[in-house]
Symmetry: C2
Subunit: 492 residues, 2 copies
C-alpha cells in the first residue's frame, strides 16, 4: 500500500498496470487473460451500470437474459459474424470430468461425455438472440423488440490487459428488432447518443461521435457507430459502439414479420454495447501520478474524513465533529467515509485515498477543534484550504459539481488540443510521433489506403466524425478525392 506509482511520463503502460492493482480495482487471475474485479473497482462499475440501466429503461428497453452458450450451428449462421469471432472463442466440448485412473487425486475430461454439438461461450449474443427472436416475431404487432442484457462474454484475446482487453469481460448488449430500416437506424443513433451523453456527463470523458469505416466495423454489421475518447498518452480508445445490423441476422435466422400491408418482410436489427473497458477509459482520462482521480458521480466514496489526533480523548472530541459532519453530508446525498482506524497513520491514509481517487478529503486536528474549521483537500487539483465546519456541507455540495465539471473541461481541453488537421503524409507522421492524439486528415475512402497508412504508422481510422464541418479535399496519402476529413489515431 501507498507504494509510489511509476510516473506516467516514464512508462505510461506500467503506470496504468500498477494503478489498477494498487488502487484495488482489479488484478489478474489464475485463468489466462481473465481478471478479478475487486470490490472497489466493482463498485465503480456498479455505478456505471445503474446509470446506464436507467437510461436504457427510460428509452423503453427491458432487460432479459439469454444463454451463455451458442451451439456451433447457430454460431456459424451469420457468416461474417462467425468469421469475425471464430478465431478467438472458447469452446465447450465435454460435459463431465472423471477421476484420473492413473492418479486418484486428479480429474480428467471424460471421453464418454463428449457433446454431440460443440458450444461456443458467447463472444457476443446476436446468434443466440436472433434464433430466439425468430419465435417471438410473427407480425408487425410484435415489433419493436427493445431488449438489453447485462452479461459476461469471452473473447480469447492473446495479449490481454486489465479492463482494456481481457478474455472474459462484463458488458451490456442491447439487441433490438424493428419493422423498418429507418426505425433501426434511429435506434442505432439514439443509443450512440446515449453512450456519448453518459460518457460526457457521468464519466466526464469527452467523446467524438462517428461512424466506423468498413474495415473497423463490427463483424456482421452494416454500419457501426461509435464514441471515441482520447487517453492522456495520445492514444484513442473506443468507448462504446452501436451497430445497425440491417437484415443480416434476420436473413441468417429467417426472421420475418407480416407487415401492416400484408407482406412478409425480414426484420431490421441493431445491437449496441459498452463494457468494463470503460474502467480503463476512466482511469486513463483523469488519473495522475498519485493514482486514480474519480469524477464525483462515479466515486463510491465522495468524501473521506481523517482524524489527526494524539490519544483517545482527542480522538473522541474529533469524532464528535466528524460524525456530525458525516451525518450532515449524507443527509445532503453525499457518500462519506469516516476513517478512524488506529492501525494506520494519517499520512498513510492520505496517500491511500489519493491512490483510490476519493474526490474530497477532510482532515480534522486539534487546532481545527479550537477554530471550528476543517482542512479540505481536493483530489483533482491537489489543493488544500481551511473551511469553517458550518460551511462544509454547502462547500462540498458545490464542489461535487465543480470537480465533475473541472475534470470534464480539463479532459476536453486536452482532447481538443490533440486534434490536429494535417494535409500531407509527412506532417501526419510527424504529428503522430511528436504529439499523438487524433489526426484529422482526408482519406480517399478505400480500405487499401487505410491499410497502408496503418501498416506504415500503426494509426487507424477511429471514426468518420458526425459533427463538424464537412468539406471535400484530397487524400493525405494518395491525393485522390476525399468527401470529408476522418480521424486517425493509434488506439487501445
Amino acid at each position: 500500500m501507498s507504494k509510489k506509482l511509476t510516473p506516467r511520463d516514464k512508462d505510461y503502460s506500467k503506470w496504468y498496470n500498477e494503478l489498477v492493482v494498487e488502487a484495488n480495482l482489479a488484478e489478474n487471475s489464475a485463468v489466462r487473460g481473465c481478471m478479478v474485479i475487486k470490490p472497489y473497482g466493482y463498485s465503480i462499475w456498479e455505478k456505471m451500470q445503474a446509470e446506464l440501466d436507467s437510461k436504457f429503461k427510460a428509452t423503453g428497453h427491458e432487460n432479459a437474459y439469454f444463454p451463455l452458450f451458442v451451439p456451433k450451428s447457430l454460431f456459424e449462421a451469420e457468416e461474417k459474424n462467425a468469421e469475425g469471432f471464430a478465431k478467438e472463442c472458447a469452446v465447450v466440448t465435454h460435459y463431465r470430468l472423471k477421476t484420473d485412473p492413473e492418479d486418484g487425486s486428479k480429474l480428467i475430461v471424460d471421453p464418454d461425455a463428449k457433446l454431440e454439438e460443440e458450444l461456443v461461450v458467447r463472444p457476443t449474443s446476436e446468434a443466440i438472440i436472433w434464433n430466439t427472436y425468430k419465435g417471438w416475431i410473427q407480425s408487425y404487432r410484435d415489433l419493436p423488440i427493445l431488449i438489453n442484457q447485462w452479461a459476461n462474454v469471452v473473447r480469447w484475446e492473446m495479449r490481454t490487459r486489465l479492463f482494456l482487453r481481457t478474455a472474459e469481460f462484463l458488458w451490456q448488449e442491447g439487441h433490438t428488432a424493428h419493422a423498418t430500416k429507418a426505425e433501426a437506424i434511429a435506434e442505432t443513433e439514439q443509443m450512440n447518443n446515449i453512450y456519448a451523453e453518459f460518457a460526457e456527463n457521468f464519466m466526464a470523458i469527452p467523446v467524438i461521435k462517428g461512424k466506423k469505416t468498413e474495415s473497423e466495423r463490427f463483424a456482421g454489421a452494416v454500419d457501426t457507430y461509435c464514441i471515441e475518447a482520447l487517453m492522456q498518452d495520445g492514444k484513442a480508445l473506443q468507448a462504446g459502439t452501436s451497430h445497425f445490423l440491417g437484415q443480416n441476422f434476420a436473413k441468417a435466422f429467417d426472421v420475418k414479420y407480416a407487415s401492416k400491408e400484408g407482406g412478409l418482410e425480414h426484420v431490421w436489427a441493431t445491437s449496441w454495447g459498452v463494457s468494463t473497458r470503460l474502467m480503463g477509459a476512466l482511469i486513463m482520462t483523469h488519473s495522475d501520478d498519485k493514482g486514480l482521480v474519480l469524477p464525483p458521480k462515479l466515486a463510491p466514496v465522495q468524501v473521506v474524513i481523517v482524524p489527526i489526533y494524539k490519544g483517545e480523548e482527542q480522538l473522541n472530541q474529533i469524532s464528535e465533529v466528524a460524525n456530525q459532519l458525516a451525518a450532515d453530508l449524507r443527509a445532503a446525498g453525499i457518500s462519506v467515509k469516516y476513517d478512524n482506524r488506529d492501525t494506520h497513520k494519517p499520512g498513510w491514509k492520505f496517500a491511500q485515498y489519493e491512490l483510490q481517487g476519493v474526490p474530497v478529503r477532510l482532515a480534522i486536528g486539534p487546532k481545527d477543534l479550537e477554530k471550528g474549521s476543517v482542512e479540505l483537500a481536493r483530489r483533482d487539483t491537489l489543493t488544500k484550504e481551511f473551511v469553517a465546519q458550518t460551511e462544509v456541507v454547502d462547500k462540498i455540495t458545490g464542489l461535487m459539481v465543480e470537480i465533475q465539471d473541472h475534470l470534464f473541461n480539463k479532459a476536453k481541453s486536452y482532447r481538443d488540443n490533440h486534434i490536429t488537421e494535417v494535409d500531407t503524409f509527412e506532417e501526419f507522421k510527424e504529428v503522430l510521433k511528436a504529439k499523438g492524439g487524433f489526426i484529422s486528415a482526408h482519406w480517399d475512402g478505400t480500405p487499401e489506403t487505410e491499410n497502408k497508412i496503418k501498416e506504415l504508422t500503426k494509426a487507424t481510422i477511429r471514426c468518420i466524425p458526425f459533427d463538424g464541418e464537412v468539406k471535400e479535399g484530397n487524400c493525405v496519402f494518395t491525393g485522390k478525392k476525399s468527401a470529408q476529413r476522418v480521424l486517425f489515431a493509434k488506439a487501445y
Copy 2:
C-alpha cells in the same frame, strides 16, 4: 396468449410449465437445458436482486467479480467439492474454431487450438475465489473478507425444468473469510436468517430454517444451513443455502493468516447463495389456475388500468381519469400501467393480466365516469368491488400491504397444515401418499436409514429444523434412539 392453463389438480407439472411460458417468464432455448429469461420474468428477478443486494450491503458485504472459468488443477484442489461437481460440469478444451475444409460454410474445432489445461465453467466459485483470497490474506488485519458475486453458473443437469433446474442459472454467491470458527458460524447463521427474512417478508413465502444432514450437504461444506419452502403440490423446495465451510478450502488452497497472538492459522470460510430457482418457488407458492399471482413487493406492475369504451371520445374521457389516477398512484410509490391499446379487447386484457399476476386491476367504463367510480379487482382473491375515484389511492396503498400479508398468511396456513408428525413408518408412507408436505419424524441419525427411507418413499430429509421443541424419541424406521424430529418430504 390468454390460452387456458391445464388446471393444477389435473397435472401440476404441466400447469407449471405452461404458466412459465404463457406468463412470459421464461422459455427453453436452443441450448440443451439453458433457458431464456424473458423481460417480464427478468424484471421480477431484478426486484429480488435489488432487495437482496441491499440486505447484503447493509450487513457489510461488497460485490466483486471472479472469472467464469476454473482451471482444472484448481477445480480438483478441494477433493469433496471436486467430486461433487465433476460429474456435471461444462469443460472448455479449445480456444478457436476454423473453417471446415470439407464445407466452407461450416466451422469445426481447431485441433491446433487445444488448451494446455482444460477450463471448467464454474458450477460454483469456491475454488477460483479461495485461490484468489490466498493473495489477499496475510494477517488478521485482512479479515474478515465479506464478498458477494452476482453471476451465472453452469451445472450439466440431465433433467432440466425452467427455473427449477437448468444447466445455466443466475445466482448470487457470497464467499467470506474469517479469523475464527465462531465468527464464520455466526456469518453462516446471519445469511441464512437474511434469506429467511427475504423469503417471508419480500416474497411472502414461509420457510423453515434448519440444517442439512450429511448426505444432503453442499460438497465441501462442514455444515449446510438452509431454508425450505413448501409448494402447493406438497413437495418441498430448497430456497436458499448458507454453508459453513470450516477450514476445508483454506487448507486446500493453503490460505493462512498471522493471528494477533503471532501464530499462523488457516482461515475459516462460509459461502451462501440463492438463485433463479426462487422464481420457481414464487410461482408454486402463490399462483392459481388462472396464472401467476405476485406479492405486490415483487410485482413489476402493481396496478393495471383498463379502459372500457366505445369510440374515441369515450376513450378520451376515460383516459383523462385514468391518467390522473395513474399519476396519483405513482406519486404514492405504486407502479402503474395504463393499457389503452386498441388492438386488444378488455376481456383479453383482463385474462392476460391475470395470467401475469398483476395484483390489482382497475377497469373504468362510461358508467364509472358518471358515478365517479372505478371497478377494482384483486388478483389474489379474484374479488371485485367499486371504489370511488377519490379513494383509489388510499384504497390501493392499503391493499398493497393487505395482499402481501394475505398471500403470506395463506401460504403459511397451507404449509402449517402440511407438517404432519408421524411415529410409525406405515403412517409415514400413508401421509406422504395422501397428503404430502413435511413429515416430522424421528430418525436415528444414520445415512443408512436416511437412504433406505429415500429408496422406499422418495422422501428425503429436508432439514433438521432449528426452531420448535427438541424432544428425544425413537426412529420411525429402525426404532433406534433419536435426538429430535427432522423434516422429511419429497422435494424439487
